[in-house]
């Protein structure tokens, strides 16, 4: 059941480079399950997180096939979070910063992601119960 509260998270790291991605996904997952609405503002490298062109691969060290390895994609996890939101009546709004998208050519996203900019982040921050900015190193 929706809680009526909204969390805004800003994230910067690209996929597979930092523990912040995993932690962010965990926070969003936990928040949605509690019925909180979640806004994600993906800035800089994080605009690559929901790329639908990501592909799983095998592990040649272990000799696994693609099917056996079941390699995750961050975009797959993000799609699953959109689905999870629907189960509790919460809303997930994922905004990719447009200029960051352009300079990276990161334009093909999974369903649910939209293009935006810093104005969206400010609006999110003004209207949310809380805002968590996760920077990058």
């Amino acid at each position: 059941m929706a809680s009526g509260k909204t969390l805004t998270i800003s994230i910067m790291d690209p996929p597979y480079e930092s523990g912040t991605t995993t932690t962010m996904l965990r926070i969003v997952d936990a928040a949605l399950k509690k019925g909180h609405n979640v806004n994600v503002f993906a800035y800089e490298g994080a605009v690559a997180l929901p790329l639908k062109t990501q592909a799983a691969h095998p592990n040649p060290v272990k000799g696994t096939t693609v099917e056996e390895q079941h390699h995750p994609t961050t975009s797959g996890f993000i799609s699953a979070l959109f689905e999870a939101a629907g189960l509790t009546g919460a809303k997930l709004d994922w905004v990719n910063c447009g200029l960051c998208v352009d300079e990276r050519g990161a334009t093909e996203w999974v369903e649910g992601v939209r293009r935006g900019g810093p104005g969206d982040f400010v609006k999110f921050a003004q209207e949310s119960t809380n805002t968590l900015v996760i920077g990058t190193r």
Partner: protein, 110 residues
Amino acid sequence: MAHYLLIESRDPFEYGDPVQFADLAVDLAGAGNQVTMFLVQNGVLVARAGAAGGTLQKLAGEARITVLADEFSLRERGIWPEKLAGGVNYGSMDQFVDLLMADDVKAVWH
């Protein structure tokens, strides 16, 4: 007075800044605020009993500071309950979100 939810994700043996973040926690508590320091990712490396002194020692004993360590980050790094340093409590992601979404909480990631 506010409640500060400070999140330390970095290892003070890799970066020098977590020491100053712990100092900030002490200063915020000294100003009358309630502080929760949530250790996550490599930030939990200070929570292993026997780790060299530094940030945890600054926080322990401060009445207004609670130190939580993310149970997944601990487990991922093989820091099991018997290896947890004194003054550190287990924290879950559910607990973290509850803290984050409480009224009048300022969240600061480091």
